[in-house]
């Protein structure tokens, strides 16, 4: 098992293309939200033989556009609940694909979605790999975190 970079890229590009018909590409510039920017972060936990989490951090404006495509609505029509549902669904699909690489048995949690200005906080976990992608003029990042051994 490597650092998941290849798989994160492959699954993210494939999911965003198949579900949203959007081309997303890895970029070397890391997604570092500016202070005060609203970020929507989705997370699924993986429990079992391998323990950790998969998360997606993206700007609120991009999450809104994603929801409008996923639910075939205008930007004005999408509600906060639908925006959370959309990011939760993308996180769930990404996490499900990453889980398939892990030793069995592993279980995927339901997604949790947080709106934050601070980024996602999962105490007791360390970052394995984070990959930043570009979509339209926005950046977002997909991360795999592993639970630290006690």
């Amino acid at each position: 098992m490597g650092d998941f970079e290849t798989e994160i890229c492959q699954y993210t590009e494939s999911i965003w293309k198949s579900i949203l018909d959007l081309d997303v590409h890895k970029t070397v510039d890391e997604y570092c939200p500016i202070g005060g920017e609203n970020i929507l972060a989705g997370c699924v936990h993986i429990s079992g033989e391998w323990e950790g989490a998969v998360s997606i951090d993206c700007p609120m404006d991009l999450a809104k556009k994603v929801a409008s495509i996923m639910f075939n609505m205008t930007d004005e029509e999408v509600t906060p609940d639908l925006i959370q549902d959309a990011l939760g669904e993308l996180t769930n699909m990404t996490g499900g694909n990453i889980k398939s690489l892990l030793p069995e048995p592993c279980f995927l949690s339901l997604p949790a979605v947080t709106m934050t200005q601070h980024g996602l906080r999962i105490p007791g976990s360390e970052l394995v790999k984070s990959v930043t992608f570009q979509c339209w003029g926005y950046k977002f990042k997909v991360s795999v975190l592993k639970k630290l051994k006690n």
């Binding site: 997370c43 936990h45 429990s47 079992g48 323990e51 950790g52 989490a53 609940d81 959370q84 549902d85 939760g88 669904e89 279980f107 995927l108 949690s109 339901l110 997604p111 949790a112 979605v113 947080t114 709106m115 934050t116 200005q117 601070h118 996602l120 906080r121 999962i122 105490p123 007791g124 976990s125 639970k147």
Partner: protein, 149 residues
């Protein structure tokens, strides 16, 4: 009576009294939680039963609990220590609640949201919401279950 309400009250009381030596008391359903921004900590349960447990605490109570847990002077708790303290608290309560649910179930690592942040669990519904008072301050514990619809 809400789902596992008595058990949630019992285990929240146990964790607070044993871990932190704080007495807590349940608040009535009619109690209106303050609109102040809350510090949120959650763990998710996955397996035969799927859902999440979320603890909502005001910042002042987070400070008090963290200072007690790590024996710190007043006002000295760092953000990392606050995350660790609330993470440990929700993890212990979640572990006890998990034991009451259909097995096998696994408990996730804690997920935290700071004051001003929000935390949502798409595709779930809140099945239990218990309110408590600790050191004169209110806090709440909510249980979310996967919504089959």
């Amino acid at each position: 009576m809400q789902f596992l309400e008595k058990e949630i009250q019992k285990y929240t009381h146990l964790v607070c009294s044993i871990l932190l030596d704080f007495e807590i008391s349940p608040l009535p359903d009619s109690y209106e939680m303050p609109s102040a921004k809350m510090f949120l900590g959650s763990v998710q349960i996955t397996g035969e039963w799927n859902g999440a447990i979320m603890l909502s605490l005001p910042s002042t109570l987070v400070n008090t609990l963290t200072e007690k847990m790590f024996s710190l002077e007043s006002g000295k708790a760092s953000i990392e220590e606050k995350k660790d303290a609330i993470g440990e608290m929700v993890n212990m309560i979640g572990g006890n609640i998990k034991a009451l649910l259909p097995q096998p179930c696994a408990l996730s690592a804690p997920l935290m949201a700071l004051e001003g942040d929000s935390l949502h669990f798409p595709s779930t519904k809140m099945v239990t919401h218990c309110k408590f008072e600790c050191a004169g301050k209110p806090f709440a514990l909510s249980l979310y279950e996967q919504d089959p619809s």
